[in-house]
């Protein structure tokens, strides 16, 4: 060895691993799709997909499972980003699933379309005959996710069987499936929340404005700040007030909480996250607070 370095930073190693995964799936599956919500993780994933095939275009479409309960800033961002990259966008609509009678809208204070997304997603996968769906989930997010494979098998009901997963060794991924089955692929499995933010800074990626501190009309519920929107089912005893907030995750507007923050730049956001002592899902996602196994149960049904 002539040089003592040949070193790569942690972001370079993660980037190389993710690109390897994306290429492997594009090579071995016939109809992949990339799930794009406009959130930070899927922004990073889409950026990695662009790099994986450059200078050729991304060889698969992206799909947004749209609950209809969106932040307008995120939808605007989604459409712009997709247009820039020249990829095809498929919107799978939860509203359509409701209209078709595939799912029934939840009612009451805690009503959310979060869980309904699973049916919409599985229907869309079946309709478009997708055999691999890239998702931006990370193993550090949640403990059920810590045990999920990079290429994670789903049976023909779209279900995940955590006790019967395929071992993954080295950089070899088993991509064999039968007709009607599919896999979920998680190229960001080994990234942490902070890695994602560091990478967004390094690559100077644009992200929706709701990730930065802004003034918003909110109300408090169960220790979370929810945006005062038509979707939130705000109760009489939940007064609205204005606060300087930002979002740590981007999800369905009815169950995604904002946090009080003054961080208006990427550096400030990163400093805030590095110092935080609460997980992003614990802090801002009502859907994961339902029970200790909330994520595990939804994942088994076919959730992201």
């Amino acid at each position: 060895m002539q040089r003592s370095d040949y070193l790569l930073s942690q972001l370079d190693v993660l980037e190389a691993e993710s690109i390897h995964i994306i290429r492997e799936v594009a090579a071995e599956f016939e109809r992949p799709v990339l799930l794009f919500s406009g959130g930070k993780d899927s922004i990073v994933m889409l950026h990695l997909a662009k790099k994986a095939f450059w200078p050729a275009p991304i060889p698969f479409p992206v799909m947004h499972v749209d609950t209809g309960h969106n932040f307008p800033e995120v939808i605007e961002f989604r459409d712009r980003r997709v247009a820039e990259l020249g990829v095809r966008l498929i919107v799978a609509s939860v509203q359509e699933s409701i209209d078709k009678g595939r799912v029934v809208e939840e009612t009451g204070k805690w009503a959310s379309r979060n869980r309904l997304q699973t049916t919409t997603l599985l229907d869309a996968i079946e309709e478009h005959r997708f055999d691999a769906a890239f998702g931006g989930a990370r193993r550090d997010e949640e403990k059920a996710r810590a045990k999920e494979r990079v290429v994670s098998f789903r049976d023909d009901f779209g279900q995940w069987d955590p006790k019967n997963q395929r071992p993954e060794l080295w950089n070899l991924y088993n991509t064999r499936i039968r007709q009607g089955e599919h896999v979920r692929v998680f190229p960001l499995s080994n990234w942490t929340e902070l890695d994602v933010w560091d990478y967004i800074r390094r690559e100077q990626l644009e992200i929706p404005s709701i990730y930065f501190a802004h003034t918003r009309r909110v109300f408090e519920r169960d220790g979370m700040l929810l945006a005062d929107s038509p979707y939130a089912n705000r109760q009489e005893d939940e007064p609205v007030f204005e606060a300087m907030v930002r979002y740590r995750t981007v999800g369905d507007a009815s169950c995604t909480g904002a946090i009080k923050s003054t961080a208006t730049t990427l550096d400030e956001v990163i400093a805030e996250i590095a110092a935080t002592r609460i997980t992003e899902r614990g802090q801002t996602r009502a859907d994961d607070r339902t029970s200790e196994a909330a994520m595990e149960d939804r994942k088994k049904e076919g959730y992201f």
Partner: protein, 422 residues
């Protein structure tokens, strides 16, 4: 200097404090968040446990919490200013071998936990053997529960001597012994004041500083072709002739201007450009994902290999390998047909022979074995339908490792490590 990544596997059973150790590393490096800790405290209290059971942090699934077991490999993350760490946390009992083999396959380092009161057990030997079989470059024997033996140097020394004697039979690259108490934190993050006789680093200090850069094979150029990039953009004449071969470098250092050989054709050509994720690069080495452009128009497709003319992998349809069998659906037996995935090439393979089954506790070779059952390891000969481009696993984990897939179930049923024939 930028942070790098250390991947390590932890091996041990419930009782030797593995979960407590991981919990302590995560907690002391602030990778455990308040809401996670609160959830664990709640569950501990609900169960009537008198202390907060840090082991609960690593039990992900409902069945695991209910049964108090760990089903599968779980991955954990923490970072210090020097390094990012990825822990492959493998359980001690159910399907232990399969999970440890999986976790160790990508590990730079393995931590084997030994209970200071119990000394070296059969399972400690088994863990050491599996780490060696998977060629984990660095091994740490963490002698835990030193608080329960009065922090006695003689206890630690006896374990170190016994393990060293046993390890001489194995081909262990780098072996380190650290006396710790995961419960009290002795020598985990900070050097312990209770063991002044110990002059080595704390476990975390060792993890932060162990030198891993030279563990990669930077000598034998191996580039398995993963994907051919052809933009076909009629609007952009510049791109019309672009033809790139994408893949992850499995060995060696590639540079523009290097003469390379394409396998299986045997044709030689020159690298003209290397495109990295952020544009052209002057060199590519493991584990970079890059795209090579070559001077000559050779018919190259996925599953092919690019190497150096004077340093080529073996081109063979006959493999000798140590195989770990990973399913209880059926045994691996002679004449069985399977799929083999090796680098980016997938082919059919037939089991020609099972030479012996290895008792991973005693290292005894059972040559009468008629096959391999779940979690058994043995020496196997395979015949493959098309040539593979292979190296000994000991020389390169990426060109020496393969998985076996059962076409009937599509399950991953085996992991193989190639050894020289003879």
């Amino acid at each position: 200097m930028a942070m790098d990544i250390l991947r390590f596997a932890t091996a041990g059973s419930v009782d030797d404090g593995k979960s407590t150790l991981i919990g302590r590393l995560l907690y002391d490096s602030k990778a455990i968040f308040e809401d996670q800790l609160e959830a664990v405290e709640r569950t501990s209290a609900d169960r009537g446990e008198e202390y907060t059971n840090l082991a609960l942090l690593t039990d992900g699934l409902r069945a695991e919490r209910e049964q108090g077991i760990t089903i599968d490999v779980a991955y954990r993350y923490f970072a210090t200013p020097r390094r990012k760490f990825i822990i492959a946390d493998t359980p001690g009992h159910i399907q232990y071998t399969r999970n440890m083999v999986t976790g160790a396959s990508t590990a730079d380092l393995a931590i084997i936990l030994v209970d200071a009161r119990k000394g070296i057990l059969e399972q400690s030997r088994r863990h050491a053997f599996l780490a060696t079989l998977l060629r984990v470059p660095h091994l740490v024997v963490a002698v835990n529960k030193m608080d329960l033996v009065g922090y006695e140097e003689s206890v630690f020394q006896a374990i170190q001597d016994e393990f060293t004697a046993f390890a001489a039979k194995l081909d262990i690259g780098d072996l380190t012994f650290i006396p710790i108490s995961a419960l009290h934190g002795d020598n985990v993050v900070e050097r312990s004041v209770n063991m002044p006789w110990y002059e080595g680093p704390s476990l975390l200090h060792h993890l932060e500083h162990v030198h891993i850069a030279s563990d990669r094979n930077l000598i034998d150029v191996r580039f398995p072709v993963q994907y051919v990039i052809r933009p076909h953009k009629a609007t952009d004449p510049e791109l019309h002739d672009y033809r790139g071969y994408a893949g992850q470098v499995a060995g060696g250092v590639l540079k523009p201007g290097d003469e390379v050989v394409h396998l299986p054709s045997g044709l030689t050509t020159t690298i003209t450009h290397i495109d990295g994720p952020n544009g052209p690069v002057q060199e590519a080495f493991p584990p970079m994902s890059v795209t090579l452009r070559l001077a000559d128009d050779i018919d190259i497709s996925r599953g092919d290999m690019i190497a150096r003319p004077h340093n080529q992998p073996r081109v063979t349809q006959d493999l000798e390998a140590m195989v770990c069998w990973m399913t209880d659906v059926r045994k691996l037996t002679p004449r069985m047909k399977l799929l083999i995935k090796h680098t980016t090439r997938t082919a059919r393979a037939m089991v020609k022979d099972v030479h012996y089954r290895l008792d991973i506790n005693t290292l005894h070779r059972d040559e009468q074995a008629d096959g391999l059952a779940l979690n058994e390891i043995g020496r196997v000969s395979l015949r493959v339908t098309q040539p593979l481009f292979v190296d000994d696993y000991a020389r390169n984990r990426l060109t020496g490792g393969f998985i076996l897939i059962d076409e009937a179930t599509n399950g991953t049923v085996g992991a193989g490590m190639i050894i020289s024939s003879g």
